[in-house]
Symmetry: C2
């Protein structure tokens, strides 16, 4: 069993250079997780965003703190703590902080093949 | 994209008859998630627990609310909001509410084969 607090995991830059966010890789293949990885993503300031993009794997998201919205090609969905989001593989999506406090959410992805 | 609030998903009895807990299946294969499922598990009262057990799949857990502990064969780990837990496939584990408020956590598992 591996346990820890998310703040003990370093917040690093995400792979997308134009994303105004940081990411903490809590549970990963390197830590023994063979199927999927749990990360915490933080978007700090009002209007900051992870722009619309797509990839061939899904997201399973749970909002922890703050207010924001999930962006799609056809509009957006407002998000508050306790909301979950499922993003299909290949679906264009993004996230934006719409409040003045930190917008924080869990995002689980399958491990790369 | 699928979105919703976790309280809109019914809290049902878990598969283990001796578990003093309820489970909300937020994101599942039936909702389009092909690799893994996101659930919210709630243990209501002080001392209530999911007893020690094991299965052949892993857990990725994130504590949302309340205080509790993760049980193992060799002891326990205290848990507070923001803590994460990785349980290896086959590892004996359980969870207990140690506070007077609801103990709530996310638990992600791979879909059954």
């Amino acid at each position: 069993m591996l346990t820890g607090h998310y703040t003990d995991v370093e917040a690093v830059a995400p792979g997308m250079p134009d994303a105004q966010a940081t990411i903490r890789w809590l549970i990963t293949r390197e830590k023994g997780a063979r199927h999927f990885a749990m990360r915490v993503i933080e978007i700090a300031g009002k209007g900051d965003r992870i722009p619309l993009h797509a990839h061939d794997y899904e997201h399973e998201v749970f909002v922890l703190e703050g207010t924001g919205r999930a962006l799609t090609e056809t509009g957006s969905r407002d998000l508050v703590p306790g909301d979950y989001v499922f993003v299909e593989p290949g679906e264009k999506h993004g996230f934006e902080n719409t409040g003045t406090a930190l917008f924080r959410f869990i995002c689980v992805i399958p491990n790369p093949a």
